[in-house]
Amino acid sequence: MGSNESSIEQLQDSCLRELTNIGLGHATMALASLTGQNFNMDVPSMSVTAAPDLTCVFTNPEELTVAVSMPFTGDVQGQTAFFFPWASAQRLSRLLTGLAPADLDSIDELFGSTILEVGNILCSSFLNAISDMTGLRMEATPPAVSIDGAQSIVSTLIVEACFQDTQILTLETRIFEESSETLDGRFLCMPASGGLQTVFERLGVAEAA
């Protein structure tokens, strides 16, 4: 129990990334139908690092970022979150409501609730797709939005999601708009180590006892 936090086998690595890929495929489709734009996604990357070493989602740790997170509980627990650099969040808001705040001071309730709803739909699509496919219970909890520096948000998520783990497993994927307009976001999923064995068992890739 918990002894293999740092030694995810290659097959398990592939499975987790494929699960993420499928889950995010659904989320990306949901985003496309919401906005009427086409989106692409990169291949998910996975890292297992000590919490202190997790690199930032964006190159500048203090970049103004709009993030929406949805923790989940059930057979597996953890955190899902979408990160949008400020300009991307403005674009998202403009696509959905026709309006976007010009700067931090003009952020209004509409913007907050728009981002909250986008996060709700994207994270739920992700969780539902994985839950349907594996039969694992993954229950979404209410989403919340943060508008702050990227690193402040990421570090808070790490602490909230996996505070009992010495190693943090992170699945990261880039989602971006196909057209030349820049809507470029990052998705993070951080499952707590406690439920991973259940996932592997369900997928038939648990290590032989």
Partner: protein
């Protein structure tokens, strides 16, 4: 005299120096960055704690992760460099709840608040005098320290940069 190289104090890290030093804790959300200084010896140290208490049933991988074991560890490391632990002064910032928009944000684990309370209590117990602190709220913070001038600065995206205090006892 050599120019001090800035020390980035990452999550769960503790760094100590003797003499002029620059420290920074970048992107504190619920975490807290704390700097301590011994005016007698010129020894200083900074810690970036994540959680109020270590888990009773788990080995401690990094003492700097937890307030309850990290602060005493910081004091110990400073003493090893020659600090007089009866004369330490400190300043700290962080412990925010950056997720502020949502129907149910009040039910989220407010680890930042618990971190801030734990730091305050333990500093009192350790008899370390707090010169200034800025905790709570919803802004993520970056803390930078220049030991040469004893200046502690805090910056956030919403409020810009300001001097938190001068670490003078």
């Amino acid at each position: 005299m050599a120019v001090a190289t800035p020390t980035l104090v990452g999550m769960a890290e503790i760094h100590v120096h003797q003499g002029p030093a620059l420290y920074s804790c970048i992107g504190l959300g619920s975490c807290i960055g704390l700097v301590a200084h011994c005016p007698a010896s010129g020894v200083s140290g900074m810690i970036h704690v994540m959680l109020p208490e270590a888990f009773k049933d788990k080995p401690i991988d990094k003492p700097g992760k937890f307030v309850d074991v990290g602060l005493p560890e910081l004091v110990k490391m400073m003493a090893a460099k020659g600090a007089n632990t009866n004369r330490l002064v400190a300043a700290y910032a962080g412990g925010a709840q950056v997720f502020k928009i949502g129907a149910d944000v009040s039910s989220r684990l407010d680890i930042g608040k618990r971190n801030a309370e734990a730091v305050k209590d333990l500093l009192e117990k350790l008899r370390i005098r707090t010169i200034a602190h800025e905790v709570g709220g919803s802004n993520g913070r970056t803390v930078t320290v220049d030991i040469a001038s004893l200046t502690v600065k805090v910056r956030s995206i919403n409020e810009g940069e300001k001097v938190l205090c001068v670490l003078r006892g």
